[in-house]
């Protein structure tokens, strides 16, 4: 925790975040990154779940790099928050749950591209996704919506007054 804070202070992140508009500006970027992810990966998931049949899944998948860009933006902006006030995050049950959901989403991505992406890529415009791909899509959507919920709840818990019960 001290290493994080020290890094933030040495690199100037801490001063930037605590400047007049630093924190709200980074929060805004964090929300724009989230919107990129939902608008690309989220809609691809919805297509696999059966919405918007007629759009070839392989064609829709071309939007996904924009979602990855949004994800990268959010990892960076997220790190700026956490390193500038680590005590508010590391002991926060909402933040811990958020990380756990991100880990599940990450494993889900690996499983999806290893085992399910090929048939999805080859499926016709009006086709349904195979069952496994539908499960992966539902896990992905559920995790990312859960991540938004947890992100919002971080400010609901203000450690050290709300320590998590499992740590």
């Amino acid at each position: 925790m001290e290493a994080l804070l020290d890094f933030s202070q040495r690199t100037g992140i801490y001063d930037f975040m605590n400047s007049a508009w630093g924190w709200p500006a980074v929060e805004t970027l964090h929300f724009l990154g989230l919107s990129l992810l939902i608008g690309t990966v989220g809609l691809f998931d919805l297509r696999m779940l059966g919405l918007a049949k007629g759009i070839p899944m392989s064609a829709l998948h071309r939007l996904v790099p924009w979602g990855i860009a949004g994800y990268a933006l959010n990892v960076m902006t997220g790190f700026m928050f956490v390193s500038s006030a680590p005590d508010q995050y590391l002991f926060n049950p909402a933040f811990q749950t958020k990380l756990a959901l991100m880990a599940i989403a990450g494993i889900n991505v690996l499983v999806f591209y290893r085992f399910q992406f090929d048939p999805v890529k080859r499926a016709g415009a009006g086709a349904s996704a195979p069952r496994g791909a539908k499960v992966a899509a539902a896990v992905s959507l559920g995790c990312w919506i859960g991540v938004i919920v947890c992100g919002r709840l971080i400010t609901y818990y203000r450690p050290p007054y709300y320590w998590c019960f499992w740590c």
Binding site: F31, S35, L43, R152
Partner: protein
């Protein structure tokens, strides 16, 4: 200011403020709804701008149901947040900026929905220049709406009409 005072003293407004879950669940629904509303616009506008050109453009309308649900959630949860702290937003110019950006962007979406998004003639490749300009403008307006929405938590002068000094 009188009607703001009246509104914030209604039992419902007081409950929205004082019950933690009521206020926080409104915030959460507002964030998720906004994520989907902006997200669908990101996808449609990127496609109009030429990204993912193999998506038949007119079929992007099939994501409109997501947009409708998102908009209902956003407006309902937004109204609840407004009822909780009416003076906070209504006395802040940034709130009207956000409203203008959202309505402007939705107006563009309506005109695109009646134009390139319903003409299968534009299904393949890049959309015409006019539509691309509107799509870029829409993305900027949504970025503006998100920015002003986030700033609402930082720029207010009055939190409650009854607590001005």
């Amino acid at each position: 200011m009188d009607y703001l005072l009246w509104l914030e003293e209604t039992p419902f407004s007081t409950w929205m403020r004082e019950s933690g879950p009521a206020f926080f669940s409104s915030l959460i629904f507002h964030s998720i709804g906004m994520g989907f509303v902006v997200g669908v616009h990101v996808a449609i506008n990127l496609r109009i701008l030429g990204v993912a050109p193999r998506i038949p453009l007119s079929l992007m309308r099939r994501f409109f149901p997501v947009l409708w649900v998102g908009l209902v959630v956003v407006f309902l949860s937004g109204a609840l947040l407004l009822i909780a702290y009416p003076a906070k937003a209504l006395t802040n110019p940034v709130f009207y900026l956000k409203l203008t950006a959202v309505l402007g962007a939705l107006f563009i979406t309506r005109s695109l929905a009646k134009g390139v998004l319903q003409d299968p003639g534009y299904d393949a490749g890049r959309a015409p220049r006019g539509a691309r300009v509107l799509a870029a403008l829409s993305l900027m307006l949504w970025a503006g709406a998100v920015t002003s929405g986030r700033l609402l938590a930082y720029t207010y002068n009055i939190l409650m009409a009854s607590h001005q000094y």
